[in-house]
Symmetry: C2
Subunit: 350 residues, 2 copies
């Protein structure tokens, strides 16, 4: 078991290292008022902590650095509640300054500010669109051959895609199709759209329009891709301020990871509500062994969640980041609840 003093020393060591990025020595620690012990005493405890695997040395006569186990213990047991500065709060609130804003912009802005406040990189997973329902279809012909298909979601999100109109179809054919689609599909959650389109709507279309098959074929591709989840990265460049990335090579490795190696699943594995911390090799992805990821979820509505993540070096200011994520996630939940449709309005159009 750990003595109280060892706990204190572990905590101070991690705190100091997080702040300074330099190995922490006994002499240096003993200077702090929180540790009124002589360097020798601290040395002994540090040696014990090292033996137990909480600390490591970078070389035989260097100061100590937390191990993953050390960080883990720190996060689980030693984290002190962090108060945010006035400036932090100001910035956080600034996200919600303007009145009407689109979800996407809200998220993008959050990502940026989160990164600015931490100097780590933020990753936001947009609200899972698969549960959103279709509010309205629309097709606008552009010329003889092409038209643009537009889908409006109940969240106000708009997706559009240009597609080819096969020869021989008139504007009224298309209008007819749009009407059918709206009749049949409004209210369908995106996640079921594909299936419904394929199984149900196709038959009806063929019933009403000559050669509907052709038209349908090119149209369905246009709306097929829609329900994709999107990752928003914020402040990739802020990471350059971390001493860990003083080397261009390391920057490159990191950016490669961000741009190619990261998918929704690597980061947001288990989206349990609340904050989760993954340290170094606790991340499933191989190449992420040098980074820590802190994730949180926010509520979009009763059923859907979005996720926020911060990725940074293992030497991360866990306390601060966790506090920030907690705040932002509840702010986002609140704000999205405001933006999102309260209840499908009764004056819906035919």
């Amino acid at each position: 078991m750990l003595t109280n003093r060892q706990l204190l020393i572990l905590q101070l060591t991690v705190d100091d290292y997080i702040q300074s990025a330099k190995p922490v020595g006994s002499r240096q620690l003993s200077k702090k008022t929180e540790a009124p012990y002589s360097p020798a005493t601290i040395r002994n405890d540090m040696a014990d902590l090292e033996e137990m695997g909480f600390l490591e040395k970078t070389h035989s006569s260097s100061g100590r650095v937390p191990s993953e186990k050390g960080y883990r213990f720190y996060v689980d047991h030693l984290l002190t509640e962090r108060k945010l500065g006035r400036e932090d709060n100001r910035q956080l609130n600034s996200i919600f300054g303007q009145q009407v804003m689109e979800t996407e912009e809200l998220i993008r802005k959050s990502a940026t500010i989160l990164s600015d406040l931490t100097n780590y990189t933020s990753i936001l997973l947009g609200p899972d669109s698969s549960m959103q329902t279709v509010k309205r279809f629309s097709i606008v012909p552009l010329d003889h051959e092409t038209a643009v298909a537009i889908i409006v979601m109940d969240s106000g999100q708009v997706e559009n895609r240009v597609f080819q109109v096969p020869q021989g179809f008139t504007a009224s054919d298309i209008e007819k199709m749009v009407n059918i689609l709206n009749e049949r599909l409004v209210g369908t959650p995106l996640i079921h759209l594909q299936k419904k389109l394929l199984e149900e709507t196709k038959v009806i279309l063929e019933h009403h329009i000559d050669q509907a098959g052709e038209l349908y074929t090119s149209f369905k591709d246009a709306i097929a891709i829609t329900p994709e989840e999107r990752l928003y990265f914020g402040g990739k460049l802020n990471m350059m301020n971390q001493p860990e990335f003083n080397d261009v090579e390391k920057m490159k490795t990191f950016f490669d990871l961000i741009e190619k190696g990261i998918s929704t699943t690597t980061i947001f594995e288990d989206m349990n509500p609340g904050v989760a911390v993954k340290i170094g090799s606790e991340n499933n992805h191989n190449a992420m062994g040098d980074y820590s990821v802190i994730t949180a979820t926010y509520a979009v509505d009763e059923v859907t969640n979005g996720s926020i993540a911060i990725i940074g070096p293992k030497r991360m200011d866990y306390g601060r980041v966790i506090t920030l994520l907690n705040l932002l996630s509840s702010d986002l939940s609140r704000e999205l609840a405001r933006l999102t449709i309260n209840e499908p309005s009764s004056k819906e159009e035919k």
Copy 2:
């Protein structure tokens, strides 16, 4: 005047420096078969070239490096036509592989590939949307308070924005407004949209709808922002492969420039057709003194142009970049002509 040999030596020096990024010495040059002269001879010529301001030394006993004047002369008179490798062509063509694609995607993809092929950063200015005309307005109510306004351009581009609906307006009010807008504004070039909206449409709206002023106020903000030009950056990170950016500080400066310091006007000042090269301080923007920018234009239709640019260190492979830009710009022109509307179709809807 420059002797033939001096011309040759200048050319070889610039070529070599572009390739190696290291100051070029006389001994090294004399090894090349193209320069069958002794180092001493080359030294003399180099000294002359330096006196005339084409070359510079980084320190008193170093090899020579081209000056801006040197690059300028090289670009104007010494550039050799560059053949592209098979792989280059393959990649360039791969952009146009898929059949139907939206303009934006086409541009985005071009930006990426252009940067991959050069290892510099590419900047594409999307087709100037101000000459595009409105094809269709649409407003979809989301709930009692909000609605999303959608504008479809004749190019197939779709802009949408959520806005607040003041209390007391019914769906039929909105429908009426949409009808009026479509009647009045379809065919209006974006560039005139604002004005027409303000001067003409407002009056008519007020004539037909009670309290139209309020509705109009919140709506006009929603579509006000539309006619903005968009810059697409490609491969900012590829620049990290350039030895000029081996230093994290320099990376930062560059990224800062890209993210904040660059506007449409700094880069695409004079959009004359053809390729333009700006070397170092020839760029008007102060902070760009260390970079060279090569721009080209592509035709979108008879009236509008888009622009492509490559930004890189002054030690840029001008020949290769120019060739690539020429190719891509004509490819883009061709492809966009295919995508763009031939002629407003006659079966336009009411």
